[in-house]
Symmetry: C2
Subunit: 356 residues, 2 copies
């Protein structure tokens, strides 16, 4: 299980519609009006997308608060991660992390240096500093997946300055940015540096509830942008992703309401999980919660939840987590309650087993 | 001008809707009923595409007449070309050819060997044989772009056997396959070889009039397929391309009618172009015609046609063609007549100029 969301592989194990807690998608669904935009633009199937994606980039730059010329677009965020990886000499990854960082590095036959987060999943800057060399690419999830933790602003700036002084590049994967409680905006912070030595990636996938669409985007320096566009494939974003991207970033109501909703459900689900025996939920800034299993292994819990119609994310495929962690998405109240109920049943089962 | 279809860059030069003769798309438009399929599946925006694309591959294998396990899918055919290129040691390209063969090779820092087609755009097999080495990838357009010429069946098998004996791979880019007058089907021919040392690429883009969708697919050996899937990006095809691909290949009526229509228009346009003074159209098996300009250069003709509301394809970006060739798509009768009329005006202008 390298990725969440693979319902098709497991649907045969449950007689009904599985509830997907394995992929971390905004439970509000797609922005209202997007369906009409896509239907109205079906004619665009018959023409090539703009090879320069000019209107799409204009929409993104307005949303991000940067210049059109700083904007990168990709077929999902992995596409942009792939390009940054291809350009680097070595890839430095903090673990646990999204598996594609390492996978794309290996595809491009790059040396990978894995650095462990500290016990509390924060960064040991001194250790990291000693490892960075010229032309390295350090990839950091911000917030990180699967831990859900945001890098503190001061720490981030400190890391950036280290990377810059060594002549490397920093890639911030901020695919979950909009879910984060208001803290700072890295696009704003690094503007004064003209995004030299840094790439900041975001995506429509998670926050706009569009994993089927494949639209990733990012912000970087003029130089890095040109290098990356020279290796990107033409027409890598199809007409639907192009037109959706001209629409969704203007949906201020949807954006505000989604943030408020996730905040409430995050607090609710986290507090309720804390009360459950046998698990330890980690504090999160995102729309998913990493959970340490104190009395079971991931396989056991995965299979038990599957029988209850719930698919969770096993975490042993994340480097350094072992087989005693799972990750659950934060969904709407009704489904979050179902998840909590399933944990209750798990506990009851354990009690029964103990009686055996 | 590296690619056709870039209307946005030129629309300001004409007060009205440009007619696009620069990209080679089926003039019948998208298959009837496809819009409904896409609208009915808008809900799939909210879930990840099947990471293995099982239903899409089943639809493609049925259409191609091969096994599901031989099918590759990509974000347009360039995505699959890119993967084959990445795996090879050297890339051999016959010129003139689609520019992405060389561009993707250079992105992956591969040595590129360019071999010229003969004067009549057929292949000099002896010369080619002398150049092929182990682990080379020879890429051939079949029919080739921009010449429109199909490789003769005997020649193709001969080339394949040479490649196989040398331990290289052959990549046939058959993106325009369905436009070709009935001759042979390479999927059928190479089945008995289990597609060892060969990849055959096709696409929804041209024949199904879907350049906005981005759906390429292909057929290769189990071994090559596994190698390529190991380097491909997850979810590289979005839900619309996935669902469209489950529908379009069953549209037998559309497929038959499109073939008949293109055959008629190809004969008509070619015969009419032959009658025009100052140009030499090359015989074609595809839905576009390469034209040699005997009295002008491409820039001159391009700009003249632009003023008439017609965008043609300049060909100097194709290796070895110089600046005296253009390529035009075969469109519907009404537009083909407009193209012919524009050539007439060009001739009249030339006469005027000569009087100066």
């Amino acid at each position: 299980m390298k990725h969440g969301g693979d319902l098709l592989s497991y649907e045969k194990h449950y007689d009904g519609q599985l509830i997907d807690f394995s992929s971390n998608i905004n439970p509000m669904g797609i922005p209202k009006g997007l369906d009409k935009i896509l239907i109205d633009n079906l004619d665009n199937l018959e023409v090539y997308p703009d090879i320069k994606y000019r209107k799409l980039k204009a929409s993104i730059s307005k949303y991000l608060g940067c210049e059109d010329d700083n904007v990168l677009v990709g077929n999902g965020s992995v596409d942009i991660i792939d390009s940054f990886t291809k350009m680097a000499k070595r890839i430095l990854i903090m673990t646990p992390a999204f598996s594609e960082y390492k996978d794309r590095a290996l595809v491009h036959e790059k040396e990978v240096v894995e650095i462990k987060y500290k016990e509390d999943f924060t960064i040991d800057i001194l250790n990291m500093e000693s490892l960075i060399e010229k032309d390295d690419l350090l990839i950091l999830g911000n917030p990180n997946n699967p831990t859900g933790l945001r890098i503190e602003e001061d720490t981030l700036i400190e890391i950036y300055k280290i990377i810059q002084s060594k002549g490397g590049n920093l890639l911030l994967d901020e695919a979950f940015f909009e879910f984060v409680p208001q803290d700072y905006d890295s696009i704003e912070i690094f503007k004064k540096y003209n995004y030299e030595n840094i790439g900041i990636i975001r995506a429509a996938t998670k926050f706009f509830s569009l994993p089927g669409l494949r639209l990733g985007y990012g912000c970087t320096s003029l130089g890095l942008k040109e290098e990356i566009e020279n290796i990107q494939m033409p027409w890598r974003i199809n007409c639907f992703a192009d037109f959706a991207g001209r629409f969704i970033f203007n949906q201020e109501d949807y954006i505000r309401k989604s943030k408020e909703y996730i905040e409430i459900e995050r607090n609710y689900l986290f507090e309720e999980l804390l009360k459950i025996d046998g698990i330890k939920p980690y504090k999160t800034h995102s729309n998913y919660i990493l959970i340490k299993l104190l009395k079971w292994d991931e396989e056991d819990v995965f299979n038990f939840f599957l029988k209850k119609g719930i698919m969770i994310r096993k975490c042993s495929s994340f480097e350094s987590l072992g087989n005693t962690h799972i990750r659950v998405a934060i969904k709407d109240r009704k489904n979050n309650m179902k998840l909590l109920k399933a944990f209750d049943s798990l506990l009851e089962r354990r009690d029964l087993n103990e009686k055996d």
